[in-house]
Symmetry: C2
Subunit: 123 residues, 2 copies
Amino acid sequence: MNISKTEQIILNILWDKHPLSVSAVIENVTKTQHWHDNTIKTLLTRLVKKGALKRFKQDKKFVYEPLISRDEIISKESEGFLDQFFGGKMAPLVAHFAQHKKLSKKEIQDIKKILEDMEKNDD
Amino acid sequence: MNISKTEQIILNILWDKHPLSVSAVIENVTKTQHWHDNTIKTLLTRLVKKGALKRFKQDKKFVYEPLISRDEIISKESEGFLDQFFGGKMAPLVAHFAQHKKLSKKEIQDIKKILEDMEKNDD
DNA sequence: ACATTTCAACTACAACTGTAGTTTAATTTT
DNA sequence: AAAATTAAACTACAGTTGTAGTTGAAATGT
């Protein structure tokens, strides 16, 4: 299954909260994207067809919810991304962001903490 | 400019080494992809048309080289990726990989080192 | 110079994507 | 119940992408 960029935006919303009616999805999407209603409906339909969403009637209206997990997609996409641009390694990614000053002090601390916790709970 | 996944593979090769002749590109690509020669040629042509590569004759044969920098594309793609999946923050990305045990001990050390260096050379 | 091999250019084509418009069916309002 | 509104389904259409095939031009071997 392949999820396009626009479809991904719909999925992100439904991962946050579901099930959602068409109108609720539209409302959420249009907060950030200037899309026509029908465009959003098309995307929903395509996602159902792809098996990424399921829909069912609730209160006489269709509602949608994800069939694939955020984690599943994130894992797939992350690996592809890392392979494509950083030879599959995290370190160069971090280095890239470091070089471009995309990391705040707080973020650095957060990341270090994550890594240290990880070292502790070593298994 | 938008680079597709397959095009990206071609670019990756040319960033490593350039200029390269068509046959050299083909040779490199087919190490990892089972693509027909013409497919690779099409990709090269499209990349030229997009302005991502330029080509010129060398020794009576065309050779190709990148017009856009790896860093440029990586920056763009990385940000898009991070926004799409991790709310634009690195920490959750690291956490994701940590959770999925995708980080070796050595990598953890490497990343920590990068972060610490960064804290030192603070500006 | 002609045949052969190699390059390069041009053409093809279906699936997927972005982006809706149009038609039909269901629900709600008066 | 007829009219109005809303929801759902169906249709459209050009651009991009993956994946080559075909044709024509140039270089090389004999």
